[in-house]
């Protein structure tokens, strides 16, 4: 999600799914329909696959799941290619730095500690991801922000109401607010994240804080769309986040040199 080699972003051409032969368009699908199993059910499943623009839809399995529901596995061929050059991808605008470079950037460009407040908000109690980023211990062999002398970390833990997080950010004069959202059922993460931005805007410090979201279903693009400055998904390393914050907070310093904190 960050510091990727250029070629990851710069492919072009038209691509189709590839199963057995170049451009055969093969896609595997599975779904459940509220129909009985039998020829009608199979045809309904093929119809679903046709709705998905799949040619030569094949139902390779139909299993009754219980009263009036059937599970289908199918394969079909997609014929509409994706034009890579036309895809809009929110591009990360920072470089991945080595730990020493991160410390140096903060020391030399900012000249003081970066204060971050992090929390798993709302009723979300998943802290492993947040802790992985913030705590000394870190993740996959990479230490968390606490391990850097350039960061001062306040980890509020789990199930933190957005109001409490905003309060704390104001108290400690946070440079960055880091939110983790893991539970996504009913899109609860979207409303939680949106609500936080609104609260921060209402408190009038949105432009003085770098706002970051993370979690297994978060992408940079989604975060941007929701009004965040950056988003970090699965597999994020603390170093990614540290690189970003070091660069972003330093950059903002010059932009808002008159900032209150």
């Amino acid at each position: 999600m960050t510091g990727l080699p250029k070629e990851h972003m710069e492919q072009d051409g038209f691509v189709l799914p590839y199963g057995d032969h170049q451009n055969d368009g093969l896609v595997q699908v599975s779904f459940t329909l509220p129909v009985k199993d039998g020829p009608l059910g199979d045809e309904a499943a093929r119809q679903v696959m046709r709705s998905m623009a799949l040619k030569e839809p094949q139902v390779v399995e139909s299993t009754p799941l219980g009263e009036g529901y059937t599970f289908f596995v199918g394969y079909g061929k997609l014929t509409r290619p994706v034009e890579l050059a036309k895809l809009k991808v929110a591009r990360p605008l920072w470089d991945k730095l080595e730990p020493q470079a991160i410390e140096r950037t903060i020391r030399e460009r900012l000249g003081r500690e970066i204060v971050v407040v992090g929390a798993a908000t709302g009723s979300d109690a998943h802290t492993v991801g947040l802790d992985a980023i913030l705590n000394y211990k870190g993740f996959a062999g990479d230490h968390g922000l606490e391990a850097y002398s350039g960061f001062k970390v306040v980890n509020m833990g789990s199930q933190v109401p957005n109001e409490a997080l905003v309060q704390r950010a104001l108290e400690v004069k946070a440079d960055a607010v880091l939110v983790s959202q893991v539970v996504t059922q009913g899109n609860v993460h979207l409303s939680n994240l949106t609500n936080l931005v609104e609260l921060i805007e209402a408190e009038g410090f949105r432009d003085r804080v770098v706002l970051v979201a993370g979690g297994p279903r978060i992408t940079h693009a989604l975060a941007i769309e929701l009004g965040y400055d950056a988003g970090f998904g699965p597999g994020t390393k603390p170093q990614d986040v540290a690189s970003y914050l070091a660069q972003e907070v330093s950059k903002r310093k010059s932009l808002y040199s008159n900032r209150a904190f």
Partner: protein
């Protein structure tokens, strides 16, 4: 099944240590009750429903007494007093209190003996109701036996009780033996139990008495159709632990997730409150014939499973002794265990077998609830399914009793209808295919498995010695379990801990102790 021979002396030491650890906690908390315990007593006395602001009446009554500084006596005598004074049932009393028409603290005192007796009568009626449901289960189990172990346990978690019913019935017809309705995020921190049928939750469905009833009824229907009794599970953890235990007893739930430390570690609930609550809730579980499920499996989500196996075992010993002290028989203590070692580790499967064997050997009569891999699953649903296949194999090989069916979509979403199907299918296959696999094999001395089991037990004993030395509160403060540190006086819900007055009475507890012959500070003898 495959067997591991434990060092009996060491095991006895572990039991002694944990019994002492638990007794220490009991002593330090014996002088307290909690708002949740009192609300459960209120519920068991028949108080239900909500007031015009939607506040549950058990909360109304307890808050009312608390405001009058009378809660230290327990709700029971005060409700009994109202009964004796006005001829009102507890439900009627609560109704009047909630309407502001009655102030319990200003009611004339009808005499301690009389009130205590009435309280005991009310308690007796409550326990009879629970006993009836227990006998109902017993006869259903006789008529509709569950032929195979491990029982296949699946969760439903749509957030909508009516969808849950559809999914639960289908799961049962596909082969599930146990249905757990997962509750919504956030419920555990509510200091009241939501009311009525609910259709909106996140990551689960609210635990309400009506939801329990709806699901139990649906599963009874399905049990009859299938000729196999389908067990129903919900959680009695969180701030309402004992209340939900009471609701579960009334609605004939069969298992309840009930852990002595989960709330402390994973929900930052105050430690004293949790220990006090778990004691009473487990008595209710015991009386209701409910099998509890402890939550040690959760530890392996925050610390590494390969390195922290001993903390799971130590916690199992401790949970076990808390449970025994609450009158639960071994057969009702479903210890939580999990398959969570990083699959990238060489010999991970052997290590999983080692710990699964060990827990069976340590608690031979306890129905271990064996949890599937979750942490190391990713969106690669195919690999997740292969990992579950190993888990299924280990479960059958080592003779586990309650098998929480792993989901191929664990890292993606709460299970879809089809996910549950695929996972049940795979687990059923293994139960049949490996039926006598364990009987065919003998563990080789000093092999990688044997060495790992032995090593784990040694480390567990060390850990228990350490916890015994410093006390459980201190151990928790140091992050011994799940790598989470909690102070004794910190956490949510501490304000709900109430010092008992000299007149304190909990007639439900008294009666259960009497009927199950559980003396405070002693375990019953079936051990």
């Amino acid at each position: 099944m495959l067997r591991f021979e434990v060092d009996r002396r060491l095991v006895e030491e572990c039991h002694r240590l944990s019994s002492e650890i638990v007794e220490q906690v009991r002593k330090e908390t014996a002088g307290f009750t909690t708002v949740a315990i009192e609300r459960s007593v209120a519920r068991l006395f028949g108080i239900d429903g909500v007031n015009s602001q939607g506040v549950p009446l058990p909360n109304v009554v307890v808050d009312h007494l608390r405001a009058a500084d009378k809660l230290g006596d327990g709700v029971a005598v005060h409700l009994a007093n109202a009964c004796n004074a006005l001829g009102l049932t507890p439900a009627e009393t609560a109704q009047r209190v909630s309407e502001g028409k009655l102030d319990l603290s200003s009611l004339g005192w009808q005499g301690t003996e009389a009130n205590r007796k009435t309280a005991r009568d009310l308690a007796k009626a409550a326990l009879e109701r629970i006993g009836a449901r227990r006998r109902e289960r017993e006869s259903l189990l006789e008529a509709l036996p569950v032929p195979e172990t491990p029982w296949l346990y699946v969760i439903v978690a749509t957030g909508n009780i009516y969808e849950d019913v559809i999914q639960a019935k289908m799961a049962a017809s596909q082969g599930a033996d146990v249905i757990a309705v997962i509750r919504s995020t956030g419920q555990s921190l509510l200091d009241y139990v939501p009311y009525g049928a609910t259709t909106e939750g996140y990551g689960g469905t609210y635990a309400t008495q009506e939801n329990f009833r709806i699901m139990r009824e649906a599963l009874d229907e399905e049990s009859h159709r299938l000729g196999r009794y389908i067990r129903l599970v919900n959680y009695c953890s969180g701030l309402c632990m004992p209340e939900i235990a009471a609701m579960g007893a009334i609605e004939r739930l069969d298992m309840m997730l009930n852990d002595a430390m989960y709330g402390i570690l994973f929900r930052d609930i105050n430690a004293e409150r949790t220990f006090i609550d778990q004691g009473f809730s487990r008595m209710l579980n015991a009386y209701a014939g409910v099998i509890i499920n402890t939550g040690e499996d959760n530890y392996l989500t925050t610390v590494d499973a390969f390195n922290s196996g001993q903390s799971v075992l130590a916690s199992q010993f401790i949970n076990y002794h808390f449970a025994r002290r609450a009158g639960l028989r071994d057969e009702a203590i479903g210890l939580g265990h999990a398959f969570q070692i990083d699959p990238a580790i060489e010999d991970s499967l052997s290590y999983e077998i080692a710990s699964a064997l060990l827990v069976r050997a340590l608690f031979p009569r306890c129905p271990v609830k064996y949890m599937p891999p979750t942490v190391h699953k990713t969106g690669d649903i195919f690999f997740a399914h292969a990992l579950d296949a190993s888990f299924n194999m280990v479960s059958v090989l080592t003779g586990q009793s309650i098998h929480l069916v792993g989901m191929l979509t664990e890292a993606v979403h709460t299970p879809l209808l089809q996910d549950r199907y695929a996972s049940i299918r795979a687990a059923k296959y293994m139960r049949t295919a490996a039926k006598r696999l364990g009987e065919s094999l003998i563990l080789k001395e000093d092999s990688v498995i044997d060495a790992r089991s032995k090593g784990l037990l040694l480390k567990c004993a060390d850990l228990l010695r350490d916890v015994r030395r410093k006390g459980l509160f201190q151990a928790i403060e140091e992050g011994v379990f799940a790598g989470v540190k909690r102070t004794r006086s910190g956490g949510k819900g501490r304000e709900g801990v109430i010092r008992k007055s000299e007149w304190y009475q909990n007639p439900i507890e008294e009666l259960i102790r009497q009927e199950l012959s559980v003396e405070p500070g002693k375990e019953d003898s079936n051990s």
